[in-house]
């Protein structure tokens, strides 16, 4: 287990170092997040629906699509000089490779979300101060599930043509359930409703994380081996 984690950390560290060097994907994702929030801000009729009612949906739609950008780049890094082939020849276990990519993607998406959340508050004037900690917890809970599935699918599509499009088409149906859960919990948090109302959705998010991290860890080898 220690070897597995050590190798996963080596992969994640390498991915983050590469991203730090180029900053292409992170800047794109942050700009994308700001643009989506801007479009939602100016594209809605404030007299028809209140910002507070729309806010949870807007927050999660923005985070979902920003996460797609992160997931797309995860295995594209490995296409350069066919580095993926080198990883597969090496003693690196497939599970370590998956966990390393998962860790790096989680860090990447967390950065995008940590920039997106203040922008969201700024644009929609949602009072998150009182619910900040539970909100961050819900974001973390939902993000783990999104990224776990997305990392698996990004490996699956990387050798195909139109990988970026295919990833979205494959991934979105799997995100519907956690997306519903995340929106519902967030709506209750913003509406000052007791968290007990959202326990079912929280359990759903936690179960989704456990099931899909486990399943993806097992299935990953079949996506990368020839």
């Amino acid at each position: 287990m220690a070897e597995l984690l050590r190798q996963a950390w080596a992969v994640a560290r390498k991915d983050l170092l590469l991203e730090f060097r180029t900053r292409t994907a992170i800047v794109s994702a942050v700009v994308f997040t700001a643009l989506v929030l801007t479009v939602f801000n100016f594209g809605r009729d404030p007299t028809a629906v209140s910002a507070l009612d729309l806010a949870p949906t807007i927050l999660w739609v923005t985070f979902t699509f920003a996460a797609m950008l992160a997931l797309n780049r995860a295995f594209q890094l490995e296409l350069e000089n066919q580095a993926l082939e080198g990883l597969l020849v090496s003693p690196l276990s497939r599970t370590s490779l998956y966990w390393g990519k998962l860790l790096a993607n989680l860090a990447f998406v967390a950065v995008v979300e940590s920039v997106g959340l203040p922008l969201f508050v700024l644009f929609f004037n949602v009072p998150v101060g009182r619910v900040l900690l539970p909100l961050v917890a819900v974001i973390a809970l939902a993000t783990v599930g999104f990224v776990a599935v997305g990392t698996l699918f990004s490996a699956l599509v990387i050798r195909t043509r139109f990988a970026e499009l295919l990833l979205v088409v494959l991934l979105l149906p799997f995100l519907v359930r956690p997306l519903i859960g995340a929106v519902q919990v967030t709506a209750r948090l913003f509406g000052d409703r007791p968290l007990s109302e959202a326990v079912g959705y929280l359990k759903l998010l936690a179960a989704y994380d456990i099931v899909f991290v486990s399943l993806a860890s097992f299935l990953f080898r079949f996506t990368v081996d020839e």
Partner: protein, 226 residues
């Protein structure tokens, strides 16, 4: 010891390996010559564990840790320096931090690349990139080297340097399997010679006292015969 027994593999109706068997002991270098599409790369990928053959088996004593791969792709990350690449790959092969730093310095010095260690890989010429790839392959001191068209894209000087280096590695007692379509490039290094066509070894014998020119003539005859 490297042992391949009855290897068979097909991609759809295209047979890439058809009953390939051989064994190598330390100090032996097998040069496999064949035209494009003969199945040479598939054979190397099976030996490296990248492809599970549909029939037969391949075994390398020491498993993946014992294998070094040199192909026409470097497996290096363009935005990391040469040293950072080596340290990353060394960590995947289980070398301690001190050991991989020492080995990186050692192999770079051996390949006359110490002054390039801090340069990003994307800035290297084709010849230097290939040398960096060789450094990566030698980092963990593998007992078996798999070489897939390693001379591709190299100019005459760089190809000559590579031949000298491979000769030194051969003298060091490693097992090597070299696959190439160019007989002139690999014949001098070989202790054993195989001609591969449509997945089969149509010739497999010790090199003996045959000169490179004699092997090239035998290869042309074997390819013309059938």
């Amino acid at each position: 010891m490297l042992l391949a027994e009855g290897l068979h593999h097909a991609f759809g109706r295209v047979v890439a390996l058809d009953g390939v068997s051989f064994s190598l002991a330390p100090g032996q270098t097998l040069a496999i010559f064949g035209p494009n599409g003969a199945g040479k790369t598939t054979l190397l990928k099976v030996l490296a564990g990248l492809i599970n053959p549909q029939a037969g088996s391949a075994r390398v004593d020491g498993g993946r840790r014992a294998i070094g791969w040199i192909g026409h792709q470097s497996h290096l990350y363009g935005h990391l320096t040469v040293r950072e690449n080596l340290l990353f790959w060394g960590s995947l092969y289980g070398l301690s931090a001190a050991r991989r730093a020492a080995r990186a310095a050692e192999v770079l010095a051996r390949l006359d690349m110490s002054d390039r260690a801090g340069e990003p890989v994307w800035s290297l010429s084709r010849g230097l990139l290939q040398r960096a790839a060789i450094a990566k392959a030698l980092l963990h001191d593998p007992a078996v080297l798999l070489l897939d068209e390693p001379f591709t894209g190299l100019d005459l000087a760089a190809a000559g340097q590579l031949r000298v280096l491979l000769g030194e590695l051969h003298d060091g007692g490693r097992m090597m399997v070299l696959a190439t379509h160019n007989v002139d490039e690999g014949a001098e290094l070989a202790t054993d010679v195989a001609f591969q066509r449509r997945g089969r070894f149509v010739h497999f014998a010790p090199r003996g006292t045959r000169s490179a020119a004699e092997i090239a003539a035998a290869y042309r005859r074997a390819m013309a015969d059938g």
